[in-house]
Symmetry: D3
Subunit: 159 residues, 6 copies
């Protein structure tokens, strides 16, 4: 059985929490697609291309991981790509509620599509891209929150 899964998200920018989930998924599934949501209307801090570039560097050692831009309906995209399941990290109950509704929605739109949840590593339970951006904008140190290999790049962009 060859199982392909997707880790969808904005990744604006990638954090150590994202890298943790992607790495753990890559150990359980044959192929992991990291789907970067192409959402210019939401005014992301990093362009889709920049976010893909950062993710590529941050996951450089993982051979079965592929980074792609993605738009449209996730339920359709997964069908086209032969993806069996969405993999998401959960940090807290509020994450769970939202993701739970999304999972039921996606199952209605594509009954073959599963959603699998992983619990966040307890070190990253408080971590979000928006938190990282807020701290950087206030001059705080973000080195415990983002991958070392892209730290300078992220910091330069956020200042």
């Amino acid at each position: 059985m060859k199982t392909k899964v997707i880790c969808p998200g904005s990744f604006d920018p990638v954090t150590l929490g994202h890298v943790d989930i992607i790495t753990r998924a890559s150990k359980m599934f044959d192929s992991v697609v990291v789907g970067v949501l192409n959402n210019p209307a939401k005014n992301p801090s990093f362009t889709t291309e920049e976010r893909i570039e950062l993710l590529k560097k941050a996951t450089a050692g993982l051979e079965n991981v592929e980074i792609v831009a993605f738009d449209g309906l996730l339920a359709d995209y997964t069908r086209e790509r032969g993806i069996t399941a969405i993999v998401k990290g959960l940090r807290a109950v509020s994450d769970f509620e939202y993701e739970f509704q999304q999972a039921l929605f996606n199952k209605k739109l594509n009954p073959d599509l599963e959603t699998l949840f992983l619990t966040s590593n307890s070190d990253y339970m408080y971590l979000s891209s928006s938190g990282v951006k807020q701290i950087a904008s206030l001059g705080g140190d973000i080195s415990s929150f983002v991958p070392e290999c892209v730290h300078d790049e992220i910091l330069k962009r956020l200042k």
Copy 2:
């Protein structure tokens, strides 16, 4: 990559909610171990042997599913058996809280062990073995809650 997962539980008795999770896991992973907790101290309504027998019948069509009795520490058992992940269904926030703590606990005891959560099918969100037993004991109809092939067997035992 060959991935083996475990669906642990009491299954006292098996419900359609359990069968749904086991079936969906069997489509994503090479091998699914259904681990029936051997817990005589908790006075289960069905013996471990009976619970295994009911599960075998209820999952008869699934070739990559194996039913086993299991006791001791799940984190140890999975290591011995080469199991990569625990797969659990989540019905509600209260499930999530408890399972979240268990998942962090298990990760501490066995850092290689993942826990993957699936959302329950919305038809089974209210369903639990104890609910089934309560309804049967009050003379209610349990045919929408348990697999048809073991319905009579379960009902006879619960009366």
Copy 3:
């Protein structure tokens, strides 16, 4: 339209929180049945008869309220009695989760049966029969928690 509803519970013993919900239901519905769960197996602190007696006194002024003992499946009992809806007070999220599952369960067993939730009065959000019993057993003052007209009776019994 004549609407009859039920407020089910153990009422072991009745608290001011219960009286608040029953009173509010009696203003919205033509007829309110207070269903006292006859559950000798659970070793209640008050007998079914005592609990009914206390409730009768505590709701003496409400003309469209009837106190009854009740056992068996709520979904069946409501059908027999022509009851349209269960009315429950919610104090907190954990109440909500449990009651939500019960409501879905009851709707499956009796598709015509609704469950309506009222939010507890903020003065009674922390209040439960078991809390009252615990406080009384430790010699605390329960006069803010139970109806005045049955306070002495309850206190005598709990000592």
Copy 4:
């Protein structure tokens, strides 16, 4: 006893989840007012008039249901109209938290006003107007989410 209730909301646009709650309320109460929030400042996708028109079609068979535009304070409007209770559907814990606070707020502003919660049908637990709009905007099929009689009208408007 004649009880009049209100189902308030944006209904931007009406979904099958809304119709389910309105229909169930119409079976329990003598008169159901569906109050469409007149909120031009929030840039709704449909005008107040359009939302009323869609609701009228979607509830055409329900004789004791009236659709009205509504602005100002709900606690005042209900007083003027002789409305006893607000009826809301709850889909999840996060709904519950918000609605719980609103209910306490409304009770403070109008002590005679009750809020009654119904659990969403499990088929509609994931359903929201904004979800429907998002799916339509991405070219997805919304026919399982909105009433058939207004499906084309909604779809045309959202494209």
Copy 5:
């Protein structure tokens, strides 16, 4: 031991819920700093100066309370000022989730900084600055929600 704590917030405008938390903190700690977030980018309804002025009036009787404007990273500000702990009121589970993540974040940024939570008084569990503003804008009575000594000032500004 001299313990200095901070009650941070927008206070846009101060409510009776805020005053309750500040007053209770002032009874437990030697010195309470009320930190008004200077956030012009968020278009607050009251300027930072106005919010400070309202808070000064509302806490006039509390000798160990100081009102200050504050921007930048809370974890840095507390270090500079010798503040041991953040004190926050919790109204509901959704508050808790958010505050919990903030507390873990702040502890990461400043390991010596604690966050202490107080439960809101049950009379103020539904109360928020945005709720007060919404009610005032709809012509409702806000006298139960804001301190009497600043009621007129707040009302004039919100109309």
Copy 6:
């Protein structure tokens, strides 16, 4: 201002999570009473005396911490001892719900008594005395969960 607080609990047995909360409280308050609930009816695994002994060893370095046995109503005990606040660690939403109700209950019984919540250290979010006992009973390693200085004593007792 001299502030005395209490950390109440069963401590059956003490875990690193307990020690973390006690230590942090001892840095913020002049005096910390650790109140061991004397609850023989609940069949604790360790006697009250044993639990006190373990806590004394585990908090040996903290000068302003006192370990006491305690029974009766917490609201009364705190009044007698001049205690201003209860300090509790919160691990999860379900903790929060329960503790929130207890806090409101205690405030009703003793209006001067505050309850302060600290978030658990993220390393101990999954940790409970019952979890430790379960793992020890199944032969697992508990050395990451209990203070080193009492590890052998606890293990010997639990086997």
